[in-house]
């Protein structure tokens, strides 16, 4: 695309303006007048969610801090340019967030934002009525973003005096020109996303913005879109400044299906679209995938594979990224579309369980587990001990019964590289476990044994128990025997003792009885 510069009204010929071509000539890389870069960073989170962060940066080389009026816009959106010039805005930061960022589970975001809407603006020192300008600015912005920012008034505006220092260049510290307002009740929806997408040079037609489909973006745990405008230096000498517009969109997807754990992520699954080309207006269009937690590719694999790697310092931490460069045709391969796939390698773990048999063998439970860092894992086993026969108890049964210690064996990463050469002379205390790898050492931990006080039978009772139980069985037997073998008869009263003796004598004599 050819760019023609129209006449620009300049109030004064500035030294910096005339020296601008010199800086261009001196730097080794020719700087384009307007620059648009887009990037997407995908970071798999520990909790199984996935964090995608879009950043679209437009550099607009113009300088109307002196009050110049510009009427030509190429990549920079006209609505925002007019806002900056009309309201003499020096820095503008606005964000719309749905959901709350869970730091404990997700770590730190690249660009934090509070739930709801947040707007903070540094005005230039040429503004006389800051509050009036602030009111008009909020009304205009609410029209641009289709949000109810017009509810921002003196009841929710503050002038922070210590924080919210300017993020761009400038050494102005007069806090009379800073205004900060937040609307926690603001809900983010498609109506806010559409005008936000319109601010991009390629719109939502090409490049990474193609992925921004509202039905998927709002079906997430966290969604935040923001616009940041600030003046930046064009080069390291900072002879000229240009405006930087950053549009960022952070979203955390939670695509868990219960019971299946982590499966696989793909661009299609997250955004229901794939990429076919970079934005033609972009000078750089890249996708970064954070592989710091899995440098060797053991936990997840990314396909299609890429050889480009880059490292960056993020929030005090050096992180490694796999890079996909969308300006190169080879990234899209033969299918002309890029659908990144992140598949978690199933670390199912291995469980070996051998149940016990009474008086033959004990329980054995072996588990191969991958523990996530900074976490607590609890393993509980419910077991019952059988009541033993009285001869099987030890002489001191009231001491209790021991359950042996559990054993944890693991390979722990080592900070210092170790020597794997076992033939070298080493002291005894450091050479017990064979060292097979340089970067990890073997460790075994034993837990405490468990002493369980179990109920015991009464050891003095075997004979009594046998007698009593056999008595009960005999009661049963006797009652049933009686009823089974005898029949009902009428009872005849038996004669008295004298008569009975007389009957016996009579029987002996052979005389009929009485």
């Amino acid at each position: 695309m050819r760019w023609e510069e129209t006449v620009v009204e300049e109030a004064t010929a500035d030294k910096e303006d005339t020296s601008a071509p010199e800086t261009v000539v001196q730097s080794s890389v020719p700087q384009p007048k307007d620059d648009f870069q887009e990037e997407l960073v995908i970071r798999p989170l520990h909790s199984g969610d996935i964090y995608a962060s879009f950043q679209f940066r437009t550099l607009w080389e113009t300088d109307f801090m002196r009050g110049n009026k510009v009427s030509h816009y190429r990549l920079f959106p006209k609505s925002l340019g007019q806002v900056i010039s009309k309201f003499s805005v020096r820095e503008l930061h606005i964000s719309f967030t749905q959901g709350y960022w869970r730091t404990m589970q997700w770590g730190q975001p690249f660009l934090p934002s509070p739930p709801g809407a947040e707007l903070w603006v540094w005005f230039q020192d040429s503004v006389t009525d800051v509050d009036g300008t602030w009111k008009e600015l909020t009304n205009v912005l609410s029209g641009i973003f289709c949000a109810s920012l017009n509810f921002i008034d003196s009841t929710n505006t503050v002038q922070p005096s210590a924080s919210f220092k300017p993020l761009g260049i400038g050494n102005v510290t007069d806090h009379r020109f800073l205004r900060y307002a937040t609307l926690p009740r603001e809900i983010v929806c498609t109506e806010n996303l559409t005008p936000w997408k319109k601010l991009l040079p390629c719109g939502s037609k090409a490049g990474l913005a193609v992925l921004l489909k509202s039905e998927k973006l709002f079906h997430s745990s966290f969604h935040s879109q923001a616009v940041h405008i600030r003046p930046v230096c064009q080069d390291w000498q900072c002879k000229t400044t240009s405006w930087e517009l950053r549009q960022t969109l952070n979203v955390v997807f939670d695509l868990h299906t219960p019971g299946q754990g982590k499966l696989e992520w793909s661009l299609f699954k997250m955004f229901s679209r794939t990429l076919t080309e970079a934005c033609p207006l972009a000078s750089s269009s890249k996708i970064y995938i954070d592989i710091t937690d899995d440098p060797q590719g053991e936990q997840f694999e990314v396909s299609p594979a890429t050889h480009l790697l880059s490292q960056a310092m993020v929030l005090g931490d050096r992180r490694t990224f796999s890079v996909y460069d969308l300006t190169q045709q080879i990234t899209f391969g033969t299918v002309r579309s890029l659908n990144l796939l992140i598949r978690w390698k199933s670390s199912e773990g291995y469980i070996h369980y051998q149940p016990s048999k009474d008086r033959v063998r004990p329980h054995l439970l072996e588990m191969l587990v991958q523990l996530p860092p900074n976490s607590v894992t609890e393993v509980t086993v419910q077991f019952e001990r059988a009541l033993l026969k009285w001869t099987e108890y030890t002489p001191d049964p009231n001491h209790g019964f021991y359950v042996g210690s559990s054993v944890i064996s693991s390979l722990v990463p080592s900070i210092v590289a170790m020597d794997t050469n076992s033939t070298r002379e080493q002291p005894l205390f450091s050479s017990f476990f064979p060292c097979k790898e340089e970067s990890s050492y073997f460790m075994r931990v034993y837990t405490e044994p468990l002493l369980v006080n179990l109920p015991t039978p009464d050891f003095s009772m075997p004979y009594n128990v046998i007698c009593l139980t056999c008595t009960v069985v005999a009661v049963g037997y006797g009652s049933l025997y009686n009823l089974l073998t005898r029949s009902f008869q009428i009872e005849e009263p038996s004669p008295g003792l004298a008569k009975r003796i007389a009957n016996i004598i009579r029987k002996m004599r052979g005389v009929p009885p009485l």
Partner: protein
């Protein structure tokens, strides 16, 4: 009759559902009086989990139920509560229908006997009337469903409920006269726990009576029928055992299920007589007393069959009672089954001698079981003898109950043939004794 039965079923299901939802369900399923190592639901779940893990459920000492139960619950484990409630409902309905049919036959026989003038004149008050017999089936269903023992057993999801359902279906098919179904259900009941084998004699006697085949060992028709029944019974038993083999692919369920029932290795306390006896047994005599106790269960079959050959349904009741008292791992669910039959013999109440004592003892023991268990295991202030004593007392009370009903039954039969008001030789009122 359908409406009160339906109402009763609704009430029973509501009570069980309410208990399932409460926190008592977990408490009850841990009680040793309600679940045994054979019937515990926790062990069924463990068996299913072992099967999922690829290990045979019988490789450990946890699971002792039959493979068909694993197969059944493989599909129904999410609907376990409904399954057990349904089993209770099936048992109650089966008992209801069988007792209704039995009452009709009793009344018909009585009518023939009256017409044939076989009863002495003064025992007319012993004759049963339809009015008195009308509500007995409903009472039987109520005795089963609303018995606290049954409710506890159902809420604990003890597989005893399924055993009871199979036995109740066996009773129903026997009383209806269906020989094949009776053999199939009996083989299923035997397959689950060996002891219902003793019900074979009762079923045979009843079916012979129903088909008017006289019980005469010299007649061919008797042996032919016995052979038919035995063939059907053994055939279905083999089919079921073979099916179990093919389900799990190995025979190791045989020692785990039947070897476990017969050799009693697990001495967990329960309400029976075996546990403490074998916990305190001298090693030398263990096998001897094991055989004695197991034979004790099967031993009463022949004498009872001879004595009660005219009354096979009472024989079923007696056999069920003997099994429930003397089996190796009894639970309260087994007791509930034979107690459900008690309303059928409610006309014997005038001859029962110990009923007040027995019911008091049963109630007191049921209340004392959890108390003494807590004192022994948790508080540590009692010892095992306390729980054992209550066990003994409970079993003595059950034996007295059963023998009391037996006495009353025999006495009524005697009166029906010899007259109610008996006189001695000198004309004064006589007392009957067993001699």
């Amino acid at each position: 009759m359908a409406a009160p039965l339906t109402l009763l079923l609704l009430v029973a299901v509501t009570v069980r559902a309410a208990l399932y939802r409460s926190s008592l369900a977990d408490l009850i399923s841990e009680r040793v009086e309600v679940v045994s190592p054979l019937t515990a639901w926790k062990r069924v779940v463990e068996g299913l989990a072992l099967l999922d893990l690829g290990v045979s459920p019988y490789s450990g000492d946890v699971f002792h139920e039959t493979p068909l139960i694993i197969y059944l619950f493989h599909f129904l484990v999410d609907y376990a509560e409904i399954t057990f409630m349904l089993a209770d409902v099936i048992t109650a309905v089966a008992l209801y229908l069988s007792v209704k049919d039995y009452n009709k036959q009793v009344f018909r026989k009585q009518k023939y006997a009256l017409e044939a003038d076989r009863y002495p004149l003064d025992c007319l008050e012993l004759i049963r009337s339809p009015k008195e017999m009308q509500y007995i089936p409903l009472k039987v269903a109520m005795f089963y469903l609303l018995n606290p023992f049954t409710i506890l057993s159902c809420v604990a999801k003890s597989t005893c409920g399924l055993n009871n359902a199979v036995i109740a279906l066996f009773v129903l098919s026997t009383i209806k006269g269906n020989v094949l179904l009776s053999a199939i259900f009996l083989s299923l009941a035997t397959y689950q726990s060996i002891y219902p084998l003793t019900l074979c004699a009762a079923a045979l006697l009843y079916l012979l009576q129903r088909q008017y085949i006289p019980v005469n060992l010299r007649r061919f028709s008797f042996w032919w029928f016995v052979a038919q029944y035995a063939f059907m019974y053994l055939g279905s038993l083999f089919v079921i055992v073979g099916l179990s083999f093919f389900l799990l692919g190995s025979w190791d369920f045989l020692p785990s299920v039947y070897g476990f029932i017969l050799s009693v290795p697990d001495l967990t306390p329960n309400i029976g007589l075996f546990w403490y006896f074998f916990a305190e047994m001298f090693e030398h005599f263990r096998l001897f007393f094991l055989c004695v106790f197991q034979i004790n269960v099967f031993f009463y079959t022949v004498p009872l069959s001879i004595k009660l050959k005219e009354h096979p349904v009472f024989l079923i009741f007696m056999q069920l009672a003997v099994i429930s008292i003397f089996k190796s791992y009894p639970t309260v669910g087994d007791i509930a089954l034979y107690m459900a039959f008690l309303p059928v013999w409610s006309h014997l109440h005038r001859f029962l001698r110990n009923i007040f004592l027995v019911s008091c003892v049963l109630l007191a023991c049921s209340a004392l079981f959890p108390v003494l268990w807590h004192l022994w295991i948790y508080a540590g202030s009692a010892n095992s003898n306390f729980y054992y004593a209550i066990t003994l007392l409970f079993n003595v009370a059950q034996i007295l109950l059963v023998s009391d009903y037996f006495y009353a039954f025999l006495r009524r039969e005697h009166h029906l043939s010899h007259g109610l008001y008996l006189k001695r030789k000198d004309g004064s009122e006589a007392t009957l004794v067993l001699k």
